[in-house]
């Protein structure tokens, strides 16, 4: 009910009477009053004036389950929503939910993570209110070998989500980071559980730096936040909602062919490495070349000096830009 009240308050530019809310929702006025108090406790600034009703004052960036549910404009992603004020890691929670049968499209989000992690177990700073920590649970019918491409699909969705919600234009550093002006704004970690040659579930974890006002000195030139880029604080729910909407769209395209063929052109347009000299750190021998884009399987195409084109598979190698910043 909180979600419905929030929606009605947001749609109206002024007061909504308690009677109107009570009639609209088919509940008692006492129930409305209780729900409004809960919303206030969550941080929403709601003014209550006798004989006029309730009015939403500012939209503070309190991210709550109700707010997220109101914002989400999707067909299937986030219909089941698990929101935590604080949790160890949204990926860990998503895996637990998956093991207990949560459906395809379950969305897990948290205001704060106490044990967030990045690739290869690196810890990921997740202080309260500063970032978006979310995980998408999928139960696809396709083969496990296709699943690694979902990291690329998610990267595209976050880039679009940030663009729609706040007008910035992040680029993708293949395979799973988003950058703005060469500084990291988002990381993606995809986990999977399989049974023989079938996928039990995939969990895509997304971490976005949103309202960080500064970073520790050692990463200050490597990381940024939406706030630092825009010079103002940013509401997180719309970014999540736009990302979810874009993910649904791109995932639909992906599932038609179970490869990147339908998304490749768009992905290449977002690829920060494209046209740049990169160094491929292959255990069998590193080499340099020019990044051309991805192939249909999501591998990075790197043209070497002798004209040969390598298909670089994620996980086998690392790629770094030669000119420092990416």
């Amino acid at each position: 009910m909180k979600a419905e009240i929030l929606k009605m308050l947001k749609e109206r530019q002024g007061f909504v009477s308690g009677q109107e809310l009570s009639d609209g929702l088919g509940v008692s006025r006492t129930a409305v009053w209780k729900a409004v108090n809960q919303l206030k406790a969550e941080g929403w600034q709601i003014e209550a004036v006798r004989s006029q009703g309730y009015r939403l004052l500012g939209e503070a960036d309190v991210m709550t389950s109700s707010e997220l549910a109101t914002m989400l404009d999707t067909d299937w992603l986030g219909k089941r929503l698990a929101y935590y004020d604080e949790t160890d890691s949204t990926n860990v929670q998503a895996r637990k939910l998956a093991e207990s049968g949560a459906p395809h499209g379950t969305l897990v989000a948290a205001d704060c993570q106490t044990a967030g992690k990045g690739r290869r177990g690196r810890s990921w700073s997740s202080p309260k209110g500063t970032g978006i920590w979310m995980s998408i649970l999928l139960r696809p019918a396709f083969s496990p070998v296709c699943a690694s491409m979902l990291t690329l699909v998610a990267g595209m969705a976050v880039a679009r989500g940030i663009e729609e919600a706040c007008g910035l234009h992040p680029l993708i550093k293949w395979p799973n980071d988003l950058v703005i002006d060469g500084k990291k704004i988002c990381g993606i970690l995809t986990e999977m559980s399989t049974e023989d040659e079938e996928i039990r579930y995939v969990v895509i974890g997304i971490g976005i730096n949103v309202n960080n006002e500064e970073f520790p000195p050692e990463i200050r030139d490597k990381a940024t936040s939406l706030r630092l880029e825009l010079g103002r604080s940013v509401r997180r729910s719309p970014v999540i909602a736009e990302t979810a909407r874009a993910f649904e769209e791109y995932y639909g395209i992906f599932c038609r062919s179970c490869d990147m063929s339908g998304l490749r052109q768009m992905y290449d347009g977002l690829l920060v490495n494209r046209g740049r000299q990169v160094c491929v750190l292959d255990p069998k021998g590193s080499y340099e070349g020019q990044a051309l884009g991805i192939d249909d399987q999501g591998s990075l195409l790197v043209e070497r000096e002798d004209g040969r084109v390598s298909h670089v598979i994620s996980g086998e190698v690392s790629v770094r830009g030669i000119y420092g910043y990416v």
Copy 2:
């Protein structure tokens, strides 16, 4: 301590005095007496005679944690052993243990499963005392794409384990069943959890029909047990122990190349499909051909009538013998 007492009783062909046990283990005679009573409660037939001591009578097929620990003669597999008198499924338990940090080589076994399952969620009958239900937890450093071959490695290990423990010669129906005279004796289900392009853990579940005296009419011509084949009951611990030992050996060979190249010849020697006409049920169009063996990636090589050789990948297709029984 139960494991040590069992070991001392097994090594001696006659009585072991309480004093000898007590001295050997550095515990009180009361502690010895209590441990012997626990072993009796687990089903071991131990005779206690005043002034002579304790003697092991028969080796009934009570499978216990102590007995398994005594039997296992391995370097790393089963050093951590989780034994259940009854559990939902050893794969489920192994996954839970993996999620809470259990080490590479953890072995899970149960006397009875209440929710055992086969491939694609098919239920798998697991009544008390009749079968071996075990799961091996691995944390390999190799790429997830190599993991599907572990099913083949495990199949070879079970075939060898059964041969060493009771002299029967099961063959392998590619990719993950063992058969004797065309009837199924064992199924293998491999599950995996990944993070980006790295394996978090692999769980190999193994179910073997051991002491079943009969099967339901609808599967009587498709399933058999070690007991039905031998005409006598079979102790399960030695089968598990020999399987574990063989798995260690074959896994070591597999890890040298992370493919089947070092095991392929041996695998092909066990392959019941080899040289037979098979029907490949490919969604893109079924076809018949002669199974030749596997390639280094564990795919089944099928020679078609026009001489072309298909590399059949597990999961994409089903293979069935044309002449009924396999």
